[in-house]
């Protein structure tokens, strides 16, 4: 459907390719020949910096990113691409490679990746995958989809829990409110009729539950809780 729409409107899907391997690049180019509405607007083979510059200037619809060796900081690279494309609100990123464990995929999706094309998938599907990404759909290997979705659901659930203040006990919540009012530990102790050590202990527990060690961050949480 998307194919027809794109063809009907005469608009081509502008694709930018990053590949450090000539062999894989040749495979990608060959596979994309099957999509007449796909236009390769650039190929980057050298550095991530050159890729980032090309994204900024060429504003592709889809970025196909393939790296022959696994990159330890691939998530950071995806986030950097997301930061750039976030402003453009149009470029979508798809990784091409050997599918990593589901935990890593979830992290990558969170970092802005819209698809992962496994090298074991039929090459003829790469054009379909590119069209899907262009239509703002997600492309993942079918056999991995179920376990990945389960993982995403559990991570989202955990994040939601972490981001709320529900985990705090009523006393901890009171301490947090006092911090939000700018009170010192001593003032909180006097107001709540507890010792300074107990206040410290509550604050330590709040720090652990909210994953911070900043009193200012606690004050911001308190302000947040008062706004809603």
């Amino acid at each position: 459907m998307g194919k027809n729409n794109t063809q009907a409107s005469g608009k081509k899907i502008k694709v930018l390719i990053f590949s450090t391997s000539d062999l894989i690049l040749a495979g990608i180019l060959n596979a994309l020949e099957k999509g007449p509405e796909i236009e390769i607007i650039g190929i980057e083979k050298s550095t991530i910096d050159s890729l980032l510059s090309a994204i900024k200037t060429k504003k592709p619809d889809v970025i196909l990113f393939s790296n022959s060796d696994p990159l330890p900081n691939i998530k950071e690279i995806c986030k950097a691409i997301k930061d750039i494309t976030g402003d453009q609100k149009k470029s979508k990123l798809m990784l091409i490679g050997n599918i990593p464990p589901q935990e890593e995929i979830v992290g990558l999706m969170n970092a802005g990746v819209r698809g992962y094309f496994d090298l074991n998938e039929p090459s003829g599907q790469l054009a379909d995958a590119t069209r899907s990404i262009f239509k703002e759909e997600i492309w993942l290997p079918r056999d991995k989809m179920s376990s990945i979705m389960d993982r995403i659901i559990s991570v989202v659930g955990r994040d939601l829990k972490e981001k709320t203040l529900d985990q705090l006990t009523p006393t901890e919540f009171k301490v947090l409110r006092h911090i939000g009012q700018g009170k010192s530990n001593e003032e909180i102790a006097v107001d709540m009729f507890i010792s300074k050590n107990t206040v410290r202990s509550h604050i330590k527990s709040i720090y652990a539950k909210l994953g911070t060690h900043s009193r200012l961050q606690l004050a911001l949480y308190a302000i947040n809780s008062a706004l809603f």
Binding site: I48, E76, A80, D87, Q181, G182, S214, I223, N224, A226
Partner: protein, 124 residues
């Protein structure tokens, strides 16, 4: 003398620039604030605005004032009265601008990213 490139930097593909990760969650809450600072002309300004998001490390907000990167700003955030039981309290934060995104349209504000200094205080 020709300038030699740094081979280490070249090999690492400059990935270092990509490793700047946030330590704290950002709170995506629109908070009213007053921002004070100095314009490049040396003139003081004070502007009421909304903070789009904030963490203990910095904030992202809209400003009409035509400031530049590395401008010192003071942010005054009014603490919601629900939290202070009606008492008027402000949270005062100082910081420096680290990024300015010019407004796309004339009637829109510039988006400004501010990194906070360590000091902050509550003002009655």
């Amino acid at each position: 003398m020709t300038k030699k490139s740094n081979p280490k930097k070249e090999n690492s593909n400059n990935y270092d620039i990509l490793l700047n990760r946030r330590k704290e969650w950002r709170l995506d809450i629109p908070i009213s604030a007053t921002v004070k600072g100095k314009l490049p002309t040396g003139k003081n300004f004070s502007e009421k605005t909304k903070i789009n998001n904030i963490s203990s490390g910095g904030a992202y907000l809209g400003l009409d004032a035509g400031i530049t990167v590395d401008t010192k700003l003071m942010l005054f955030i009014e603490i919601p009265s629900k939290l202070t039981d009606g008492k008027k309290t402000k949270l005062s934060l100082s910081g420096h601008t680290v990024r300015i995104e010019k407004a796309e349209k004339k009637d829109k504000k510039n988006n400004v990213a501010v990194r906070f200094d360590k000091e902050y205080k509550f003002l009655d």
